[in-house]
Symmetry: C2
Subunit: 201 residues, 2 copies
């Protein structure tokens, strides 16, 4: 069993060594301290690079933000592939549960929750160049839930996918905002119970 829905993730663009350092520094700073809080000067300093180089490579802070989210999205999908490979789910239901179980490891080691949700709030403007990445990430997850539910022969896969997405996002945000440290485990248990009692189509 494996993931079904196409990732539609843009391939990682070639980066120069300095560009690589910039994006790496920006990624940790943006995620750890917030996008608005971190200025381009501090990113350049952390990457040991001139501001000029930063602007030669990325053009603007907004496009650097988009690059940050694009990379994070790729890393997330790679992470999911690893998790799936390790857990070897044998049914579509197990694939769904593996996606929930992956949350625990994904969130471990930081209290900041979901970088995409955070970015969506911080950027606010719906026409921001990074918005498609954010919405796309959530839409992919929902589509994957729905596809697995359909594959499992469960009734009303759309409604089920919606409910699973609520649990998933609720875990991400409660982990951060409400300081619910075991949110991923709670979500996994809740998802398991839903799947167990859900009617077949």
């Amino acid at each position: 069993m494996r993931l079904i829905v196409d990732r539609e993730v843009a391939a990682a663009p070639r980066l120069t060594p300095a560009g690589e350092r910039i994006l790496t520094a920006a990624s940790t700073l943006f995620y750890e301290q917030g996008i608005r809080t971190v200025g381009v000067d501090s990113i350049a300093a952390a990457a040991d690079v001139t501001k000029k180089t930063l602007y030669d490579r990325f053009g603007s802070k907004d496009r650097l933000i988009a690059a940050y989210l694009g990379r994070r999205n790729r890393e997330w999908h790679l992470f999911l592939d690893e998790q799936l490979a390790a857990r070897r789910p044998s049914t579509p239901e197990d694939v769904i549960l593996a996606l929930f179980a992956a949350l625990t490891d994904w969130l471990a080691g930081s209290r900041n929750g979901c970088g995409f949700i955070n970015a969506s709030v911080e950027l606010a403007a719906p026409d921001h160049p990074a918005m498609p990445v954010i919405v796309g990430q959530k839409r992919w997850l929902r589509a994957e839930f729905e596809a697995q539910a359909r594959l499992a022969g469960l009734a009303d896969p759309g409604e089920l996918a919606d409910r699973l997405l609520l649990l998933h996002e609720g875990a991400l945000v409660s982990y951060r905002v409400a300081a619910m440290t075991d949110a991923p485990e709670v979500a996994t248990r809740a998802a398991a119970d839903i799947l167990k009692t859900w009617p077949r189509g």
Copy 2:
């Protein structure tokens, strides 16, 4: 049937006419456009007030933010009281479902989701004077879920409250980030199903 857990909401402080206008303007601007985006100058302009007056009344932007969230929290509890009064739930389970159903009206008329979650992300710093209001709001809701579950004689009220909170917060964030416009209704249906199948203690 009514709400059980103490609100521990600080009483609304007396405000001068200008102070009132400032807080009103700040509330709509902060919620509609984001806290970091809105500067004190534009708040003063919108309230038709000098910046001097703003700082005489509130001292700093951070304290104005805290006042904004305090007021929003009071408004939310007032809103819940109205909803409860209108729906007249006859069982603890119905109280819980009424809290979910209230989400629909609470979110109607704006795409910005939960002001507390947004503020938590935008402020980031855990020692910000407004943080206690944010965490307190979520903790109250969880405690209310748990108290109602206990009153209903349901098993493991803590676990149930956790799961309900995940659905609730998931609806708030999916409504905004994933543009799931019917998130409140989905959450309400999911909560109803959970309550229906949950074992008695």
